[in-house]
Symmetry: C2
Subunit: 547 residues, 2 copies
Amino acid sequence: MKVAIAQLNYTIGDFEGNSEKIIQQINSAKINGADLVVFSELSVTGYYPHDLLEKKEFIQKAEVAVSKIATNCIGIAAIIGAPRINESDKGKQLYNSAFFLAEGKIKSVHNKTLLPTYDIFDEYRHFEPNNEFEIVEYKGEKIAVTICEDLWDELPTANEFGKDKLYQTSPMEELSKFNPDFVVNLSASPFSYNQEGWRKNVLINKAKRYKVPIFYVNQVGAQTELIFDGGSVFIDEKGEIKKELKYFEEDSLIIDTADTSEKILQRKAETIEKIHDALVLGIRDYFQKMGFKKATLGLSGGIDSAVTVVLAVRALGAENVRVLLMPSKYSSDHSVNDAIELAKNLKIRYDIVNIQAAVDKFEQELAPLFEGTVADVTEENIQARARGVYVMAISNKFGYILLNTTNKSESAVGYGTLYGDMNGGIAVLGDVYKMDVFKLSRFMNKNGEVIPENTIVKPPSAELRPDQKDTDSLPAYEDLDEILFDYIEMNKSPNEIIEKGFDEQVVNRVIRMVNMNEYKRFQAAPILRVSSKAFGFGRKMPLVAKY
Amino acid sequence: MKVAIAQLNYTIGDFEGNSEKIIQQINSAKINGADLVVFSELSVTGYYPHDLLEKKEFIQKAEVAVSKIATNCIGIAAIIGAPRINESDKGKQLYNSAFFLAEGKIKSVHNKTLLPTYDIFDEYRHFEPNNEFEIVEYKGEKIAVTICEDLWDELPTANEFGKDKLYQTSPMEELSKFNPDFVVNLSASPFSYNQEGWRKNVLINKAKRYKVPIFYVNQVGAQTELIFDGGSVFIDEKGEIKKELKYFEEDSLIIDTADTSEKILQRKAETIEKIHDALVLGIRDYFQKMGFKKATLGLSGGIDSAVTVVLAVRALGAENVRVLLMPSKYSSDHSVNDAIELAKNLKIRYDIVNIQAAVDKFEQELAPLFEGTVADVTEENIQARARGVYVMAISNKFGYILLNTTNKSESAVGYGTLYGDMNGGIAVLGDVYKMDVFKLSRFMNKNGEVIPENTIVKPPSAELRPDQKDTDSLPAYEDLDEILFDYIEMNKSPNEIIEKGFDEQVVNRVIRMVNMNEYKRFQAAPILRVSSKAFGFGRKMPLVAKY
């Protein structure tokens, strides 16, 4: 049997656009001799529609789209993902389903059994889990249809509670009783650089254990914070990856199950390249799917805004990016020159505005109220907020979306000004630790200097007071980032981190800073997620709490 | 048997403080002859700890607290709520449990069966559902222990998908097989003004159906956005409410099951009074539990900031509230005078700062960049953001937390400036529609004018350009609020709202405004929730989507 796997980039709720993409793929697969095309999870709606799933209208539109796609399945079959109403009088109102389409109609429907609710997943909010298992018989082959998490009944490693089985059921254990000829898995697996190997291992283990080939079809493209990386694969019954689709791009392939000997694999990229590509895709899709074209940001001469603007230019084109340079009396000449040099390297428009006059007015007006006080973070924040007013003015006047440049290390410890440098429509580096921001800058300069060397090598500083350095108030970034990674991504306790050899006071202070700054992150821009635990809706901490 | 019900105000993660409160109640109940004291759901941790439940340390601290409380149960029994590790090798790592404590130890543990995941609830993220049912036998009585949602297997009304049963199991159906003498229900039910009757009806129906008395113990107090209203009740086997605890306050009562004839009920308050009391409690607890005392805000002379400041004074005391008046050239004299009058009525400190000088500097500096453009929302936003800089400066310099004054109607349609008037630590009126803000103002003036009449009667205006009125760009608030309520709280489709008689264009425009402004609300302050559907984590919409 010739099975096409189609890894496409969907827009949430764009039933017309998504259906059209799906139908085009079905038609071209048919022309190229495929018997069956498999799409990704919730392909009709895009993953994940969240509470749009509570709107009956939305579900009805999905039903109409599925029926329309079905009418295009003549002489070819397709498996697509969409929500479906649970007709029973009990349970949640929907199933997360895979529709097997052939002969112009819906031939069978297969519901998702394992509904993830950890990290960024929230499927149990909307869906009832499946508990009935059936197989598809088509052209003499028996096909086991699974949806994403259905193959994840065993985690690759146990969590800190010592558990590797989060569910009571194993769909593959049930489906294997039918002796399927192959398994298809409709997925929506977001990219995270520190769990790269997991996904393939899970699939390989299932193929080996049940001695069955697996077609794994992932979504590609960004949905606000979440970046789906594609990388769909065909794994044979020995657990060998025989075909692999592109990463961070739409792609499709027809695989003949009768002869899978030829290997089609992708070049192995370094982690930092993957993060780079993920962020470029994240920016590009945020803008395209929102219907925006142009981005702006404040260029300080520092590393974070430098890396952000390079990513923006790569995502949107130099003609769509303009920046503001907003030096203050504490900015070094170097900073301004570095920023100008970078803007020139990138061939983007830059303007210089002076923030001092407005800052002075604020301070003059506040002087009678501040009498008897000493300068502190208040005055630093006024500078940051004045800059925020300028970049937002450019954004409002000319329709440029402001990119936020805060990195994950800063965001974690609350090193940023609310309503100032924390402003932005999307936070490009909010899930990238400072040390990785440096790696990104080196990666960007690989084929010639884009970011001025001085921006990379000078000690990081917010330049909000004379001779300020980040290390005045924070540990060295090497240490800070490791402590943060252990606490946030690895969910380690302070004691476990101290046992690694870090200073107790430093660890406790860093963790206190993380915990105390939930309130700032609550109001932060959405963050492009590249790790296994980003700030945002995958990490919900109470704001008011003692811990 | 003498059963005490204890409705207390917990702080999330404050194991020491929460345990102390619980132990004090156990001791005083014992002195007063009680046999058993029942506390609310997750009383040991506070409801709801969110992803703190993923930290092993946190769970271990809860275990220690439960054991410590148990040692205080000599000559008296208690039922408390806490998380507990699921020792099975399958399933989520925790149960949401009720611990029956007697003779100085844990005698039995009862796990929650029905785990809500709708609206603000997210329990399936952390907990495994129970499927084993047991009864407690104590002093010759059989006690059925249930936790909150366990009694909600049938909703009072069907949802838009025509379902009134969200779960597969009915815990009371199982527990009734043991013929319990009474039911205890440990709850954490947040207040919502438009679902007031639901809770009592659900309890009454269960008592009647199973002919069994119910002790319902609710949490009281605010946890950031969520406001728990208390109002614990004892319902007899005929479904009659015989005892009712206070609303929005800690309270407890000993009930002798042998003689429940005497009725103890609370005065029936009007809805607007309940909203008022809920918001006062919401502010007070936010500050107390955060360890803050003082609040500030910008007083414009308009109704929203007026109502907010009265609530703040009632929650924190006049000595802890100071305000800024920040008129611009578009502010009417009336506005300034009304604001001053209100500040004087409340005996709070007020200062006047002139925003024009800073605004002028921004505009001068931007003039070369803005050449050839006309004044638009950009200039309005600069004013709003300059005000934001001033109030945040007071906040930063003197440790006053900024209260946000945006109402729900504005928040819904995106009528507010990000990083300007949308600033704040907590949004006091973010779940109160404009028409209810007016009602609150009338309620506040019931016993004498606090808010100047002129503030209430003048046409609402943002005063960001000459002679601006809200109705220039929005429908009348009577209509707007009804359309919004139907769309947001009732989840009606545009067509259903149009069918009620509203103008099609108006409805579509309002709904488009709601949908287009998710990005603003994403970065908004947390909102004190008083309705069944507040903006915030109980309503998750994708930012990038077509719908």
